[in-house]
Amino acid sequence: MRKVYLDHASTTPLLPEVREAMIPFLGETFGNPSSLHDWGDAAREAVEAARAQVAQLIGANAEEIIFTGSGTESNNFAIKGLALAQQNKGKHVVLSAIEHFSVLQSARTLEKWGFELSLLPVDKYGVVDPKDVRKSLRKDTVLVSIIHANGEVGTIEPIQEIARITRESNVVFHTDAVATAGTIPVDVKELGVDVLSLAGNQFYGPKGVGALWVRKGVRIMPLLDGGVQEGGRRAGTENIPAIVGLGKAAELAKSTMAARIEHLTQLRDRLLNGLPSRIDHVVVTGHPQNRLPGNASFCVEFIEGESMLMLLNSQGVAVSSGSACTSRALKASHVLIAVGISHELAQGSILFTLGIDSTPEDIDYVLEVLPPIVDRLRQMSPLYAKFIKESKGGK
């Protein structure tokens, strides 16, 4: 059976070049960068080379890059660390309603510590209005965090415009670029942000590693206390193979980005256009144009996402869904709800995230196998039966 992985937002495979770069650090070159001997020297050298690679990807200075253990850690570090470092100035934090859970739940923890949150709405395409950011700012606002692009609906946010506003008001601005760094151009100077999160496993690098870029001069409290690794800002023995892999993935992403984007955009549009032409009652979620090149997300009416996933899986196709049943917490995606999708429609969520190895044949295979699956589930669905009866009755 054909195997088609279209769930790259969940995680990406390692590129062979990335794996090759990592292998020596799973072998002979196993030292600890804190050590003062040849083994330590080699490890230190590898970490600093990777730091330069990651810095180049986002147009930053290498000293401003802090390696972390994941995108989640980067976001926890940013939200908690930036808020705590400035709590004498104020305790108000601004987020969008479509932040990743690692930002949102970190902010919920801040609430327990006496901070106040403002959650900004998004329009039906998932776009934050910069005017809303301006209106939300108060004297005691110490942090604004807006996601660069949300992996579930793919919409890219107007970060530059928001940064202009936060800079005028002298408020620290963090963006979660986990879904964008390594995928679309991310340049911290162009974006104008102060702090930015990224993670390896979103662009063909390893799991277990992320980075936080903190503009020089911006104060942040450590999340992980202990030794003085990473300039005293992130304690713990460095995960050398993963850091090296992240560096290599960053280098490759930078050098091949334009070609990757073109490839992904073509496939994505084939799917975005193809699916609604073969299946009735399908809604595209997210922005029609201004979206991640690999993201094709839909809600299919009258049926539920997990059962679609399972039937697609039985045909070799791997995808995601934002339905309540597919989340471990059994809640429909807060992102879909924020863009105004009803809880009922959100149940039919299905998310294709394409990768650089995806092919037109993969897309055509999906366009071939999904319609009968939707049909089969609709034949089983009391909601569909009701809809049919009503629309017949209406005639």
């Binding site: 339905s323 049943c325 059994l330």
Partner: protein, 130 residues
């Protein structure tokens, strides 16, 4: 490690008794599309036995497998026997359900019960004539 047992998968992939019964003796609906799962059961009763059981289900893999399993367990049983089908016994027949799926997807027994109640109350309304 698959989320579901083989039995669940088998019922999900090949659900028994899907459909509606046009002239059903009883209909029972349970769940809510907003929460994720909704099931409608249709029964035909003959000599106090479930002569036919059919269902339609909107929901996750567990919900579909549960519906299928309940329909199979119920068919041919007396009303009293069928009313003894519980979420627990359905889950057991399915060789287990994921913990977080137990409550929200395991509505089949309730839906069936509602269908039986519907039949009984209709029968009562008709004054026991048949």
């Amino acid at each position: 490690m698959p989320v579901y047992s083989e039995k669940v998968m088998e019922h999900f992939m090949n659900p028994r008794n899907v459909g509606e019964i046009e002239d059903a003796d009883g209909v029972g609906e349970e769940g809510n599309p907003v929460c994720g799962d909704m099931m409608t059961f249709y029964i035909k009763v003959k000599d106090n036995r479930l002569d036919d059981v059919k269902f339609k289900t909107f929901g996750c893999g567990a919900a579909i497998a549960v519906s299928s399993m309940v329909s199979e367990m119920a068919k041919g049983k007396t009303l009293e026997e069928a009313m003894k089908i519980t979420p627990r016994s359905v889950a057991n027949e399915l060789e287990g359900l994921p913990k977080n799926k137990f409550h929200c997807s395991n509505l089949g027994a309730q839906a069936l019960n509602k269908a039986i109640q519907d039949y009984l109350s209709k029968k009562k309304a008709k004054g026991g004539k048949e």
